[in-house]
Amino acid sequence: MSLTHLNARGEAHMVDVGDKPVSQREAVASGRIYMQAATLARLEAGGMPKGDVLATARIAGIQAAKRTHELIPLCHALALTKVSIDFHLDAAAGCVEVRTLCRLAGRTGVEMEALTATSVACLTLYDMCKAVDKDMVIGDVRLESKRGGKSGDYRRPEAEEAPTPLVTAEAAGIGMAARPAQPCIQVKCLAELRERLGVGEVAVLVDELPSNDVAGLKAALTARDARFALLGEQRVLCAVNQVMSGEQAQLTDGDEVAFFPPVTGG
């Protein structure tokens, strides 16, 4: 398959679409912006300092779709017939999912418009929320489906439904799971605590501990990131090597320490 934006000499050029038949075309793109649970909750409650975040991001995305040809060098200017942008606040994944649909009757596809609108909507979400959360990450911007045109319909293969995370270490955004060569303690944060901290698994070097016990581990984590001050709350429980333990429990290289909220099973 050849790249249509390169000519016979390998130079970039704009494809002449004059001879292509006009057809109904549609593209859907999606993207995500990951943020702390507190930021997401505040966004949902409408408490952002800059005002209505989602309405602003929606308008920004629609404007961006219309101006795609000014940003992407070899894109044609298109007379879009529809641009719609939807937001889904996903508390479980800790993100806002942006979904854009672009439609037109034309001679060239609208996937670039859908992707551009999605990207700019994500950037606007970042701008609207950055006063309260600077660690947000934009990602997973992708084409979901397209319809019409010579190359035919496309639909992203359905990802296998991910099983509900049981240990959620791998779902966490920040932190390092890989074990460094130096003596260290493996720390896991579970359930609501993981969501509030935005950290599932993190390794702490034994050398970082002011004292070789759970209290020392909490101090080392808090020194690293102030958010870990949460671990000082009375109702945070702790298990060392999977056995419930207190502040004075001694720690050595290779120990696994889990912090979690009071249990609520049964």
């Binding site: 579970l190 249990v263 049964g266």
Partner: protein
């Protein structure tokens, strides 16, 4: 026998398995916990159970061992489900067999009370108004403490 699983369970089949080929069992007490559609908020549409693999099995085994040391038991089956569950779904099963009813009743009650406060499971409830993590209940702790006093 202790299991942590996502699949549903059949309480009748579990009880039958516990008592099969036995002539010494005089009493079987079984408790099944179900997902309610109301809790801290009305209209709970689903809940997700998270646990701490490894520690969960160990904590449940400790609770069952504790029950076996307190009462003369002829067998225990303990199943706890994890993952996403809908209202009406069974979550937890405790089946206790003994020669006499008192030990079976008490041990079943004890296992549930300790499980509620000691096994690392966490529930997140999903409603149309959003998701939330279920808070611990002081009544559960009071219930568990009763077994320590006696």
């Amino acid at each position: 026998m202790i299991r942590v699983q996502t699949a549903p369970f059949d309480a009748g089949a579990e009880q039958a398995a516990l008592t099969a080929q036995r002539r010494d069992i005089g009493a079987v007490v079984s408790f099944t916990g179900l997902v309610r559609d109301f809790n801290e908020r009305p209209e709970v549409s689903a809940l997700t159970l998270e646990h701490y693999p490894g520690m969960t099995e160990r904590a449940l085994a400790d609770i069952v061992a504790e029950a076996e040391s307190r009462w003369p038991l002829n067998g225990v089956r303990l199943i706890h489900r994890v993952g996403r569950l809908a209202p009406g779904d069974p979550i937890v099963l405790v089946v206790v067999a003994s020669a006499h009813r008192l030990a079976a009743f008490e041990a079943c009650h004890f296992i549930m009370d300790y499980l509620k406060t000691r096994a690392p499971f966490w529930k997140k409830e999903h409603t149309a108004q959003g998701d939330y993590w279920v808070a611990e209940r002081t009544t559960d702790h009071d219930a568990a403490r009763r077994w320590e006093a006696s």
